[in-house]
Structure formats: structure tokens, C-alpha cells
């Protein structure tokens, strides 16, 4: 029987040298040290041996088992190592092949800019107040200190509807009156809102002008709102939307619904104020019209202008989007060419 042990040992240790795959290794293991393998076969023969030989035989079979298990472990490690080396060496792919297209969607650039605006203004305590696209003449003009035949009415080419007192809002400003009346509790509550929305003007559609465009207007009403607050608030916005060092310039201007009124320019971020085509070589980009809410507008919103004051500002998200992305043609926005929309 001891010969058998030797034979198995020799055969096992010799044949394992030819084992080069994990499949062959599994086969080798079951042949020699598996449940039905040769070593177990030897254990099964112990009962047939004379009593006095059993212990010694058992010890030798045990030794054989550990020897073969050790050989197995070594071989397994070796095979794994080789497989790893092979995988690392031969498994290269052509990384220049095109990617598999993954489904990808995206938000309209105008929506993206609106969200950016809304987030910044929300941080400063301004809530979003939405108002109507189709408005009464009174709200769009008269209550905003633009009575009939006011010269500033000519600045805005209006779409009128079959009802002569109803029009498509030319700006989001009518929402100011609605917000004051709805949220102001009869002129007794402060307000901080922004009014985003689509506006409409009867214009020739060109690369520079559209018949519909979005606006974001802001309104703050309080007992102690100052012009310096307007400046500080707008400067904060400019810093957040452009860069923390953005220089801001304020120009006196005219809007019927604010007084004093001012235009806000930010240093051109495309040329750092050196002058380029986009800023028409002035180094400045116009970003907002603003001012202190006109006393007449405060009154029309239900507030006593002797006690309450406020500021308002308006911005054009499309224009700012155009500046940020070098978009030359405003018609891209509602043209909905997916080749454009997929670039955001």
C-alpha cells in the first residue's frame, strides 16, 4: 500500500506541472484531493489494513494530503497570476472607438439661465411670483405710470388683442402691480419677489430681435428700502452671475415706473473690459434696467409712497445667455434646432 501512496504522490506532483488553466486545476483537484479523489480513496482503504499498520498508514496519507493541497494552492496562485498577467497584457481595447451613445436629455438654455437667476435671487430672499402673459392695458401701462399717449409707450411695440383693453404684456412689470396688490396686504407688508416670464413685442424677427422673449424682473418694497440697497443688491447679483470681481457701472436712465432710474452695466467678461466686438468696444455690457419704484406705482400697488419705498430691476435672460455662450442669433432660442439645444 505504501507503494500506492508513493505512486499517487509522484503522479499527482508530476501531472500538476501540466495544469495550466483553472478548469484543468479543478479537474486535478477532484482527481486527487476531491471528495472522490485518490487521497480519499486511500483513506477508505484504512479499514482493510491490519490494525497495527493503520495509524502509520493514516499518518502517511495525511501527509500526502497536505502535500498535495499545498501543491494545489501553489499551482492555483500561479495560474491566477498568469491569468492576471495575460489579461493585463492581451486584453487591450481600441480606446479610440466611438462611445456607445447613452440617452441624454437637457434643459433649454433659457430655462438654465432662469434657474441660475432664481437661485441667486432666492438666496437674497426673493421669491418667484408668476403673472399673466395676456394682460390688461391698465396693468401693462397705465398703472405703471404710462398713461395713454405717454411717449414711452412708443418704446414698446405692443401686440394688441381683439379686446382693445387687453394686450400681450410687453414686459413683466405688470406683475409688480399684481404682486403688490396680492402680497402687500393693502400696502402693509414688505415684498421681495422676482417675476420671470415670457414677454411679447411686435417687432421684425431678426438676429437681434424677437417677438417673444423672457424677462426677469425684481421688486423689493419696504419701509426703508434705499437706492444704495438697489446698488448693493444688483452688484451682488452681478458678482454671482459673472465673477466675484465684476466691475459694475451705473448710468442714469429713464423708465416710467421707476425714479430715479438707472441702467446697470457690468464690465465685459469676454474682453475684461478691454473692448471687443460683443461689447461694441465699450468694455461694458448692459445687464439690467432698474430704479426706485415710482411713487405713482407704489400708490397703484396700494402703498403710501410717503412711508414705503422700493426698488425694481429687470433683466433679459436670453441676452445674458447669448453673451455667456457667444450666441449671435436670438432666433436660436425658439427655433428649437436640436443641434443647438444639444450643445448645453
Amino acid at each position: 500500500m505504501s507503494n500506492t501512496i508513493e505512486l499517487i504522490r509522484e503522479e499527482a506532483l508530476a501531472s500538476i506541472l501540466d495544469v495550466n488553466s483553472s478548469d484543468a486545476l479543478v479537474e486535478w483537484r477532484s482527481r486527487f484531493i476531491g471528495r472522490k479523489g485518490a487521497v480519499n480513496g486511500l483513506f477508505n482503504t484504512i479499514g482493510t489494513l491490519p490494525r497495527d499498520e493503520r495509524a502509520a498508514f493514516g499518518q502517511r496519507v495525511n501527509a500526502l494530503q497536505s502535500k498535495l493541497t499545498e501543491a494545489y494552492d501553489k499551482r492555483e496562485a500561479l495560474i491566477r497570476q498568469r491569468a492576471l498577467a495575460m489579461d493585463l497584457e492581451d486584453g487591450d481595447i481600441d480606446i479610440s472607438l466611438p462611445a456607445h451613445p447613452r440617452p441624454k436629455g437637457g434643459l433649454h438654455p433659457s430655462t438654465r439661465t432662469h434657474r441660475e437667476f432664481q437661485k441667486i435671487w432666492a438666496d437674497m430672499g426673493f421669491h418667484v411670483y408668476q403673472s399673466f402673459d395676456v394682460e390688461e392695458d391698465d396693468f401693462n401701462f397705465t398703472l405703471l405710470n404710462l398713461p395713454p399717449h405717454h411717449p414711452a409707450r412708443d418704446m414698446q411695440d405692443t401686440f394688441y388683442t381683439a379686446n382693445p383693453k387687453v394686450l400681450l404684456r410687453t414686459h413683466t412689470s405688470p406683475g409688480q402691480i399684481r404682486a403688490m396688490r396680492e402680497l402687500g396686504a393693502g400696502g402693509s407688508q414688505p415684498i421681495r419677489v422676482i417675476l420671470p416670464g415670457m414677454c411679447y413685442r411686435q417687432e421684425q424677427v431678426t438676429a437681434r430681435s424677437e417677438i417673444q422673449f423672457t424677462q426677469v424682473e425684481g421688486l423689493a418694497i419696504g419701509r426703508n428700502i434705499r437706492m444704495s440697497d438697489l446698488k448693493g443688491t444688483i452688484a451682488e447679483f452681478a458678482k454671482r452671475i459673472y465673477n466675484p470681481n465684476a466691475k459694475v457701472r451705473y448710468r442714469a436712465s429713464y423708465f416710467p415706473f421707476t425714479e430715479p432710474s438707472m441702467e446697470v452695466d457690468v464690465e465685459c467678461f469676454l474682453c475684461d473690459g478691454e473692448g471687443c466686438r460683443v461689447c461694441k468696444y465699450t468694455g461694458w455690457l448692459e445687464i439690467a434696467g432698474s430704479g426706485m419704484v415710482h411713487p405713482t406705482v407704489l400708490r397703484n400697488g396700494g402703498y403710501d409712497p410717503n412711508v414705503w419705498s422700493g426698488f425694481a430691476f429687470g433683466m433679459g435672460p436670453e441676452r445674458i445667455t447669448m453673451l455667456k455662450h457667444g450666441i449671435q442669433d436670438i432666433r436660436y432660442f425658439w427655433g428649437n434646432d436640436l443641434r443647438f439645444l444639444k450643445q448645453f
Binding site: 456607445h100 423689493a220 434705499r226 444704495s228 448710468r251 425714479e259
Partner: protein
């Protein structure tokens, strides 16, 4: 308005670079849109950004004032002459020139009195006068028809002043300048193009701008003289005025100049008019234009003799509204039907002019006019606006009167105008002015506590400083304690008599002149208003995020469409399911196909799909936008809708699985999107019914029911509709949902299911049922029979064909059994399975497919 600095300097000394001046004006509200340099260099001012000017800077050594001493014939050429020019050098210089306006002096000997030209020496750079394109050229010596020439007398074009190149510049004699003076010192100029907002009507003139500059720079304003030399008979009795509508014509003044000569204006006047873009005509008309721009008071000159003829004696000027059907032929040769509100200047014989807008042809100044009656009047600006709109006529006069000219200016314009006419054309001015002033505006006096200034600006302003600013703007100011009492100057109509509004008007002036840059930047210290949440907006944005996250691109369409296009959504013989509301109709649409606001997003979405079709193998897009439903109320409902459109391939093709990419997007892709969207909003209780949207295929569409109410539909676009929108290549799948019900039913709080701790048993079963049995019925029976322990039943295959008998189909389900509390055994699973098979057989006639 074009504003030459040389003209402004008549009224105010400017001691800062013009670039800085432009910046100061711009920030003070007079926006300088453009700066044009004439001969002078651009200055670099630190901190001021200006577009780089591309202009000719006149060489101070080589472009000089020259006296043209004599003009001789050219020996070899009829169309050229030789001009002998004293340019301050040691000898006269001979220039060969073709200037037609020198031919008259040919061979006349020394010219007296002397005439003056713009002389260019050899080496000077000028514009090429003969070139169509703007091009510089350097003057070089060469022979011109046998005579050597190295210098020239220049035309306006050659100096870059205007396009005129017929003749050369002949300047007026001016004692201040000797031959050899650099031209830059005489004609060099900078012209600012200033844009005025409607509140700056008072600035719409050289004096108006100069006054602002004086206030901004804090320097002295020099007004021109408004005195006039009047040595004739008194005007009284030579003309009368009758104002019938004082509200529309608050003031009317007349002056009279007799025995004058109508002729071309001198160089300086023609030059100034050209600088501001006006065409010189004759000395009388030029003065009316000049005063319009200098004082801001438009004038109108009548031929007095023609008026006297019409009247058959002493003329009476009548301002009135038209008679019914009255017409007038105006200076621009247009016969005008006069609207009922058009104010007229007339006489006893009929209409003469449209007041404040345009004169009539019959009584205008002609070359033979001897006696000039000059009108300086004031008009109601709103009425003039109506006339402009009504008559579609825009003149320099109407531009000013429509913005508002204070009636006090009428007399200033008249007196300065008549004196200038006298100086230029000679003659004798009648003594006095006929001045009818029935309706002077009220004087506006505002009390402004300095505390209000400080509070509203957020900046400490001393009362003296505020008062000083207002005085610089010519307000009359009293300080009473801490209150400024300011009386508006008589050139301003923009200061309100309402005390709070008037205070705001003054506040703006104070802030503007001090400079907005002086106001600090502060953070609002005011009470924070109550905060609230905008749920509508939150859901709107959630919808956008959910759809974009599913691989869809957001589009934003025009909200305009037209009735016919929306009617295309209704196939022949099908009843419309579109909203039963009126349209918001645009009476002045930008295009006839955009004359109503949409009732549905569908037409715009289909059009967008059509536009993209040729570039895209797949389109998966959505829009969240309003539709407009006009009801009985004044304003329409503006409900928010979400529209989703799918067309083309389900996958974009890849080099690895090109076959799979051929599968077209279909109804079930849309169903997946709709369900994901509703799931994203945690809306669980929805259901489907057979589609009822007229624009969708009746057999391949569904309505979405939320608590039994239809909130939208989706499905294949009806083939006839698709064809009408020229979308025939690929199937188009469309969905449109109302957003309001999603807002109403979305769940902000929802509990999650705990993760199971026991293992699940998975198995597949395939059931053969009649082809007409709907999948959701089968699933309902399976779920009911499976009970609590059937965790999920997912349909993974639908099969018809061999070996399934005709008219039947096989539905294969992946079933998951699980008990959250204990581990299920195979025996438990077999029991559930048996129940399921039994129930489906019993209720649906299903057979187990082996």
C-alpha cells in the same frame, strides 16, 4: 442728436477731454452712442473705455488755412485752374485744382475780399476724394497736364467732413485766423451722437446739452443774446393772432423781417447744419433749422406777402382744429386728410400748416421772398404725438414738440431767429413781438426735506449740496430749515406738481448730478417679508428635470399659432377634442400665421419635429408651456401644459449594436415616460382608458385618468394629422398633459417600503390567452390570485405565431414571490403558482404554455 463740441463751446467752456465728457454725460443719463472725430486725435483717458476711432487726424504742419490770392487758367486744360495760395510760407504756393467753385475767380487778378481755403502741403495725408471707397492718400508732387503740382486745396470729402467733393471748402473770413493756422484749430471737431430718453425733452438742443454739461461739470453757462435789433414799424397791426384751442396751442409768437434777401447761408452756418446732418437750403430756412437745434424751439417762416395776398390786407393767423373733410398740401408735396384732432395754423383763407409738425407748400419761403413772418409757437405734446401717428410724418419740429417744449422757449426762439435772419439776409425787423399766450403752464414748486433725500438714497447729502445741484440745473432754491423749496426753471415740463412725485423728480436730479457712483452699495437692512413656497413652480421644474433625466430635450416654442394650423389636428370626419374656448386673437400680428395664441402645444411640437426631421435620426423632446383659453372673463385662462414628442429610433446607433438601433420609438416608450413622470411626482393612482384625443390614432392612443378624470392623452399621432404636418417618414408619438392636476395630486411626503430581509423566489410562467384579452386584465388576475406574497409580476414577452394557435397569444411573466417575515419554501411557491394558473384559466380561459 448729433452734437458738435465746437457748437457746445459757444455756451460752456469744457476743460476736460471730450472722451471723459462723453462718459460723464452717459452716466448722467445722456447716452453718448457714438463719438465722431473730425481731424482731431482721440485721447486716451484712463478709466474711460471708448471704441477705437478710425479717422483721419489732420497734420498740424501740413493741413493749414490758406488764403486763395489768385486763380489762373491752366494753360493745357479747361477743367483745371491754378490757385495761388498764401499758406503762411515765404512764397505763394500754386495748386492745380478742378474745383468748380474756384472757376468764377479765374483770371480776375487778386481776389478781394480774400477767400480762404483748406490747404494741404506735400506729404499731407487726406482722404482720396476720387475714390468711391474710404481710402487715405498721401499728397505727392507730380505733373498735372504739364504743370508740376505738390499741394492742393481740399474739399470736405478730402478732409472727412462730409461727402461733398464738387468744389473745395471756402471758409468765411475770420479775423482770428491768419494764413498758416492749422486747420485742426479751425475745423477740427468732435461730434457726439446723444440719445435722449423721453424725460430729457429739455436737452434736445445744443443749449439743452450745454446746460446739462454746465451742471455736471459745475461750470458757467453762457446763453446767447435773445435781443434783436428792430428798427421797423411796430408789428402790431401788421399781423394778428387768434388762438381757438389754447389747450392745444398754449402760445403763439410772431416776428416780422422786411426787405431781406434770400440767399445761401455763410460757411459757418452751412457747416454747422451739415455737422448735425441737416441740408442747408437758404439763409431763412437755415435759421429756422439752426434755432430748432440751438435753442430747441422749432420755428416756421412764412412768406409774409403771400399771407397778405391771401388775406387781401392784414393777415390774421388762426390756430384751430380742421373743418370736416379739410385738406392741406404740405411742404413734402403730400395732400393730407386732416384728422379731427390735428391742430392747424391757418389764416382767413384756409389752412397754412400742420401746427408743430410741417408747413404748407403755398406760403413757404422762396428765392423771391422779401418779407418774412416768423412763427415761434408752443403745442400740446400729446396732441402732436397723435398727429405724428395719424399723419405718419416725422420732422425735427414734431420730434421736439411731441416730447414737449416749454412755452417759455417760443419767445426765445423767435427773437434769436429773427435777429439771425436780419444779420444774414439784411432788412429791417418790425418792432415788438405779437405774443398770444393764453395758457401758460403753472409754476411748479416742490418742498423736499433733506431727510427724505438721505433716506431714499442711502447716503448722507448735506442740504447745501443738494441745493447747489438744483441751482446748477437752474432751479430757484430756498432753504427753509431742513427743507429745500425748489421752483422748476421755465424750460422744464418734467417736474411734477404732485408733491411725492415731484420729490422723486428732484431726488433723481440730485442723485444723477452727484453721480450714482457716489452712492454706496449696501445690503438691505429692511424687514424680511414673509416667506412662502411656490408649489406650482416647484412641480413645473420637477417635470422638466424628470423629462430631461429620461433623455428628452426641452424646447420652447412660439406661443403664437393660427386657427387653420390648430384645425389641422382634427382629422376628416372626426369630432374635435381640442379645448372648447375662444382664441386670444392678435389684431396686429407679426405674421398672419401667428395671429392667435395657442390652445395646445401640439401644433408647435409637430412643426418643431418637422423642422428637425432632416437632421435627427431620433427626436425626444418636451415643452412645458402655457396655452391660452379665452372664456367670458376679460383675461384668458393660461393653464400650463406639458407636451412630449418622440419620433425616430429608440436608440442612437452604435458600432456594436447597429441592429438594435433600428427599432422605432412607439406608444410604449411614451407610456414608460408618462409613468416615470407620474412616479417621479409620486402620483400612484392613475389609470388609462382608450384614447379620445382627435389628433391621435384612435386605436393606438390612451387617455390618462387621475382619480377618474382625464388629465391628458398620449399615443401615435393620427396618420392624417401626421401627413398634414409632413411627418410621414417615422411614426410620431405625442403626449400632452395638464400640469395643474399634477400639482394638485403630487405627493410631497411618501413612505418607502422597507427592504426585505428574507430571500425571494423567482419563476417565469407563460400563459396562452385569446388575442383580444388586454395585458392589464391578465396582470390584474395574476395579482389578485397571487395575493400578498406575489411581490411582482412583470410581462417580459408577448408572442404570437407557431406553435401558438391562431387568434391566441402567449404572455410570459416573471413572477417574484416573497414573504417579508419568513423564508418561503418551494412548496409555498408552488401553491401560489397553482392558484394563479387556476384563476387565469377560470377567468380568462388561459392555458399554461409548457
Amino acid at each position: 442728436m448729433r452734437v458738435p463740441i465746437s457748437w457746445i463751446k459757444d455756451f460752456v467752456d469744457i476743460d476736460i477731454p471730450v472722451e471723459l465728457l462723453a462718459e460723464r454725460l452717459t452716466v448722467a443719463g445722456l447716452e453718448v452712442a457714438q463719438v465722431q472725430y473730425i481731424g482731431l486725435p482721440q485721447t486716451d483717458v484712463p478709466g474711460v473705455r471708448m471704441p477705437r476711432a478710425d479717422h483721419l487726424v489732420w497734420d498740424r504742419e501740413k493741413l493749414l488755412l490758406g488764403r486763395i490770392v489768385e486763380v489762373k487758367a491752366h494753360p493745357n486744360a479747361d477743367r483745371l485752374v491754378l490757385a495761388l495760395v498764401d499758406y503762411g510760407g515765404e512764397a505763394l504756393e500754386q495748386c492745380v485744382t478742378g474745383a468748380t467753385n474756384l472757376f468764377g475767380y479765374k483770371d480776375q487778378g487778386e481776389i478781394t475780399p480774400p477767400i480762404w481755403g483748406a490747404f494741404a502741403m506735400e506729404g499731407a495725408v487726406v482722404w482720396d476724394g476720387h475714390s468711391e471707397k474710404a481710402r487715405h492718400m498721401t499728397l505727392k508732387g507730380k505733373e498735372l497736364r504739364g504743370i508740376y503740382n505738390r499741394s492742393m486745396v481740399c474739399s470736405e470729402k478730402e478732409l472727412g467732413i462730409s461727402d461733398e467733393h464738387e468744389g473745395v471748402i471756402i471758409l468765411d473770413h475770420d479775423d482770428r485766423y491768419a494764413a498758416g493756422t492749422p486747420l485742426a484749430d479751425i475745423l477740427g471737431d468732435v461730434v457726439l451722437d446723444i440719445e435722449f430718453t423721453p424725460n430729457l425733452a429739455r436737452c434736445f438742443s445744443m443749449i439743452g446739452v450745454a446746460r446739462e454739461i454746465a451742471a455736471i461739470l459745475g461750470c458757467e453757462m453762457r446763453y446767447p443774446s435773445f435781443e434783436f435789433v428792430a428798427e421797423g414799424e411796430t408789428i402790431a397791426g401788421q399781423v394778428c393772432i387768434e388762438i381757438r384751442e389754447p389747450a392745444l396751442n398754449p402760445r403763439f409768437t410772431l416776428t416780422l423781417l422786411r426787405d431781406t434777401e434770400v440767399k445761401p447761408s455763410p460757411f459757418w452756418l452751412r457747416h454747422r447744419l451739415k455737422l448735425i446732418g441737416q441740408r442747408p437750403r437758404n439763409n431763412i430756412v437755415d435759421v429756422t433749422n439752426y434755432i430748432t437745434f440751438e435753442v430747441g424751439q422749432p420755428l416756421h417762416a412764412f412768406d409774409y406777402d403771400k399771407l397778405a395776398d391771401r388775406a387781401g390786407g392784414t393777415p390774421t393767423i388762426i390756430t384751430r382744429l380742421p373743418e370736416p373733410g379739410e385738406k392741406l398740401e404740405t411742404l413734402d408735396d403730400v395732400e393730407r386728410d386732416l384728422g379731427a384732432e390735428t391742430i392747424l395754423v391757418a389764416d382767413t383763407a384756409g389752412a397754412l400748416a400742420v401746427g408743430g409738425v410741417i408747413g404748407g407748400g403755398e406760403t413757404e419761403i422762396s428765392d423771391s421772398t422779401r418779407n418774412v413772418l416768423l412763427e415761434g409757437a408752443a403745442w400740446n405734446n400729446i396732441n402732436i404725438r397723435k398727429t405724428i401717428k395719424d399723419q405718419r410724418v416725422y420732422t425735427e419740429a414734431s420730434a421736439r414738440f411731441s416730447r414737449g417744449v416749454h412755452p417759455s422757449q417760443a419767445i426765445l426762439g423767435s427773437t434769436r431767429g429773427i435777429e439771425l435772419m436780419r444779420q444774414l439776409g439784411g432788412g429791417i425787423v418790425a418792432r415788438g413781438v405779437v405774443d398770444a399766450y393764453p395758457n401758460p403752464p403753472e409754476t411748479v414748486r416742490i418742498e423736499l426735506p433733506i431727510t427724505r433725500v438721505t433716506r431714499l438714497l442711502g447716503m448722507e447729502v448735506t442740504i447745501e449740496r443738494a441745493a447747489d445741484v438744483l441751482r446748477r440745473l437752474e432751479f430757484e432754491v430756498d432753504i427753509r430749515g431742513d427743507v429745500i423749496v425748489a421752483t422748476a426753471p421755465d424750460h422744464r415740463l418734467d417736474i411734477s406738481a404732485d408733491s411725492v412725485v415731484g420729490q422723486a423728480d428732484l431726488l433723481e436730479e440730485i442723485a444723477r448730478v452727484i453721480g450714482y457712483d457716489q452712492i454706496p452699495d449696501t445690503i438691505m437692512a429692511d424687514e424680511m417679508p414673509p416667506q412662502w413656497e411656490n408649489t406650482d413652480l416647484y412641480i413645473e421644474e420637477r417635470i422638466r428635470d424628470a423629462l430631461a433625466g429620461m433623455g428628452l430635450f426641452e424646447v420652447i416654442n412660439y406661443r403664437f399659432t393660427n386657427r387653420d394650423t390648430e384645425a389641422m389636428l382634427v382629422p376628416d370626419g372626426v369630432a374635435s377634442s381640442l379645448p372648447d374656448a375662444d382664441y386670444v386673437e392678435i389684431v396686429n400680428p407679426s405674421a398672419s400665421d401667428r395671429n392667435v395664441l395657442r390652445h395646445t402645444l401640439m401644433t408647435n411640437m409637430l412643426e418643431t419635429a418637422g423642422n428637425n426631421a432632416s437632421y435627427q435620426e431620433t427626436q425626444q423632446v418636451f415643452e412645458v408651456g402655457k396655452v391660452y383659453l379665452q372664456g367670458a372673463e376679460t383675461l384668458p385662462d393660461e393653464p400650463l401644459h406639458v407636451g412630449i414628442l418622440l419620433t425616430g429610433r429608440r436608440h442612437t446607433s452604435s458600432w456594436q449594436d447597429a441592429d438594435e438601433s433600428q427599432v422605432a420609438l412607439d406608444f410604449f416608450d411614451m407610456k414608460g415616460i408618462v409613468e416615470n413622470l407620474l412616479h417621479d411626482l409620486h402620483i400612484g393612482e392613475f389609470d388609462y382608458s382608450k384614447g379620445g384625443h382627435c389628433g391621435l390614432h384612435p386605436g393606438r392612443s390612451a387617455d390618462i385618468l387621475l382619480r377618474g378624470k382625464c388629465i391628458g392623452s398620449f399615443g401615435e399621432v393620427h396618420p392624417q394629422v401626421a401627413e398634414r404636418f409632413k411627418l410621414t417618414n417615422d411614426k410620431v408619438i405625442y403626449a400632452e398633459l395638464e400640469v395643474a392636476p399634477l400639482v394638485r395630486h403630487h405627493r410631497r411626503l411618501h413612505a418607502i417600503e422597507p427592504l426585505p430581509t428574507s430571500p425571494a423566489i423567482l419563476e417565469d410562467i407563460a400563459l396562452i390567452v385569446d388575442g383580444t384579452v388586454a395585458a392589464n386584465e391578465v396582470e390584474a388576475v395574476i395579482r389578485q390570485a397571487g395575493g400578498r406574497l406575489l411581490k411582482s409580476a412583470r410581462l417580459f414577452d408577448v408572442y404570437t405565431g407557431d406553435p401558438i394557435p391562431p387568434g391566441k397569444k402567449s404572455l410570459a411573466y416573471a413572477l417574484t414571490y416573497q414573504d417579508p417575515e419568513r423564508t418561503l419554501t418551494d412548496k409555498n411557491a408552488a401553491k401560489i403558482r397553482k392558484k394563479i394558473i387556476g384563476a387565469t384559466r377560470h377567468r380568462l380561459g388561459a392555458e399554461l404554455r409548457s
